[in-house]
Symmetry: C2
Subunit: 201 residues, 2 copies
DNA sequence: GATAATATTATACTATAGTCACTGACTAGA
DNA sequence: TCTAGTCAGTGACTATAGTATAATATTATC
């Protein structure tokens, strides 16, 4: 951080950006995303519309940015994950903590995040970038579990990670459709249970 | 069908509706959903905007309606599904045929369908209605498989159906994000494989 | 067949996300 | 310290989904 010299301009820019971000989230939380116009945000933040779009490509970028903070959170998960003896347990903990975090963000926020990723104006979605800590971590956990003989070795670890993440995403998508009416963590627990043990008698 | 008397008006209305529907889909396919305005559709179909909104709540209703035609398709699947001896095979066939149908609809269409379901203006999404043939059928197949000892019996069949559908939805969601760049049926095959047999060695 | 009721259509309008050309303050190099 | 160039900031403008209202065509009733 702070690699380049901090000129007045840059400080001002960061402040303005932050003010827009905070104001927007505050309004979204109070009135709901779709009941808040960009003009509302600008007025409250005391800036012009042009400035808003100077810092954010679109209204939903605010939500995306908030949503993707989960990627920092993965670091904090590590101690709890590594505290588990079994690698299978580690994977389960990873899934549980991820869903817990998403659950805490609240269905409205996550819904907008998932919604905007499908928007016609978006060409490639950041949430499926393989560079995300989410993928890195899931793959590593799967690989370690395989190396220790706790998971079958005939499927590449990347594919296992992919499959688990996709399945979790299906739950999240549906959780959004139901506006958070069911327990996300519980549903996740069950899914992972089935993924691991299968449905055979 | 055709329960009420077909007055001139009603015939006219149906024709108009169909013309709007066909024209819209044709334009969407040619230029892409977001490159086509409602006014374009109206102009091409030779009707006014008011007429469009008389028949369709919103622009994306066209896509939803097209997408939900899959619910009719489940009937046609039955022979192929029932031709399988094993109930597990039937479930797999069901999943495969569903994904095949969706794959054939094309990523752009499905993307809009999934997108619009998350729109802030929608309160309850039709695609997660438990009344849908999709759910009915998945539950029945799971139940029959259980009754014949081909699936574990400690999970209610509804839950199994739910889990499988959610997981499939996760794949579809991601397929949309990737604009159909991977093979949906193949990914589905693999997922069902894992769901059924699990990830244990 | 005149007329009231209603279904259908046309158009002007509203709301709001996002764009663009411009301004003037700030920075950096001489 | 002067000056060229950059960048934060502005607000009028555009595009387009959706609405409200007025007009017209069709049917039902007498």
């Amino acid at each position: 951080m702070a690699k380049t010299k901090m000129t007045k301009r840059k400080i001002q820019a960061l402040n303005t950006r932050q003010k827009i971000f905070d104001t927007a989230l505050q309004l979204f939380n109070k009135k709901g995303y779709d009941r808040v116009t960009v003009d509302d945000v600008c007025k409250k933040a005391g800036i012009s519309k042009g400035t808003f779009y100077n810092y954010f490509k679109s209204k939903d970028q605010i939500i995306i940015e908030e949503f993707l903070k989960i990627d920092h959170y993965y670091q904090e998960m590590l101690p709890e994950i590594n505290s588990k003896e079994s690698y299978l347990e580690r994977m389960k903990t990873f899934a549980r903590l991820s869903l817990k975090y998403i659950s805490e963000q609240g269905a409205p926020t996550v819904r907008i995040a998932y919604y905007s990723q499908l928007s016609p104006s978006i060409k490639t979605s950041p949430i499926v970038s393989p560079k995300r800590p989410l993928y890195q971590m899931a793959e590593r956990l799967a690989r370690e579990a395989q190396e220790n003989g706790e998971l079958r070795g005939d499927i590449p670890s990347e594919e296992i990670a992919n499959t688990v993440i996709r399945a979790m995403r299906g739950i999240i998508y549906e959780w959004c459709l139901h506006n958070g009416k069911f327990d996300l963590e519980e549903a996740g627990e069950e899914l992972v249970q089935i993924l691991v043990h299968g449905l055979l008698p």
